[in-house]
Subunit: 220 residues, 2 copies
């Protein structure tokens, strides 16, 4: 079997304004355990805002998505503008509010949200080329906004599930570690911290997403 | 067996100016897998500086160790001033330059470095009470500065090993995932990213540290 090459798209560093750190780290671990390799990417743009993760309040600062995401990637990260479909077998979007704040405006505007142009192009062109995509936690709302009539899960949160319906998608209730596969888009989703989860349950979710992505990439 | 309660002491969020994110996250995962619980702590103080993790250069900003560490802890973190020995069975210090910049000044001043007073008190009183301590990556230099004639490993980096000797400690060369146990202090160390490691090797290191800490706590 050829080594599978994963692109991981990060939306910052920290659950409340960026990429969820445990989901991102455990995605990397799951890929390594499965014998794959990964390269991190993030858009070189300003974060929607900065949240004090101790208090939950907004801080009067500006931070850059790529520069903060580099913390999770230990500096080994590239701007999303340098991402090329030809270099990868699949793509993973970890969760965190960064996806709903920096990749689209879902956290502020709900189903009518706008999507970052660069992120939208990556998702659409990956689907067109038949590259499998994994989306964790809140990331399925981004997919529901970009891809018509998509099948996804974000766990069981009713409000978010309804928003997915409003955007034209179908939501399926799942428990910890369970995945929903949309075969037409080769899209795999799992709830992770959209449920009240332990870190072990997150590891189970990332293991399962990686396993399904590898399966989809080998069975076109 | 009683559930083992771990305190995790974080020095920020990001390898170059704070706690190493993978080591911190995988410590949590190892504890959960071993059936333990954890609570994160960090000192409520300003970081020594802020490093752009994309370029490695210093940024003209100020950040707080506790507020940034809260990103790794998903908000569930307490100031180190609220740490009480009576509530825990053992303590873990993940690595990252934050240990050598925010917990002591080793990164700037080498073996003559000063140690944060709050951190020093926690380490000394834990040793006095017989609580096992785990120290990953660069954290053993902090222990060598606080505890006389300590046995530790930071892998194989010669300059750091020599600095440990200068501070009165003994350094033992180790490979990925290997641990050194100082029985008199109940101190367990492992190199993690002080070696050129994969994320799987980090997970092996945190698994082994947690296993040894549990063993030490049950065999006083």
């Amino acid at each position: 079997m050829k080594t599978k090459k994963f692109a991981i798209i990060l939306s910052g560093s920290g659950v409340f304004d960026g990429a969820e750190i445990h989901e991102s780290t455990l995605t990397m671990l799951s890929i390594a355990k499965a014998g794959g390799t990964y390269q991190c990417f993030a858009p070189d743009k300003e974060q929607a805002h900065v949240i004090n993760h101790l208090t939950g309040e907004e801080m009067p600062e500006k931070r850059n998505v790529l520069i903060e995401a580099a913390r999770i990637a230990r500096g080994n990260i590239k701007p999303l503008s340098e991402f090329s479909l030809d270099d990868f077998d699949m793509i993973v979007f970890p969760g965190g509010f960064g996806v709903a704040k920096n990749f689209c405006s879902f956290a502020f505007e709900g189903p009518d949200c706008e999507v970052d142009q660069e992120v939208e192009t990556v998702v659409k062109s990956a689907v067109e080329k038949g590259l499998p995509i994994g989306a964790l936690c809140i990331s399925p709302v981004l997919m529901a906004r970009i891809l018509p009539a998509v099948d996804v899960t974000i766990g069981e949160d009713q409000e978010t599930a309804e928003a997915i319906s409003t955007m034209g998608g179908s939501h399926y209730i799942t428990d910890h570690g369970e995945v929903i596969i949309d075969e037409k888009y080769k899209l795999v989703t799992t709830p992770c911290y959209m449920l009240d989860a332990t870190i072990q349950q997150i590891a189970e979710g990332t293991d399962n997403i990686v396993k399904e992505l590898i399966y989809l990439s080998e069975n076109p």
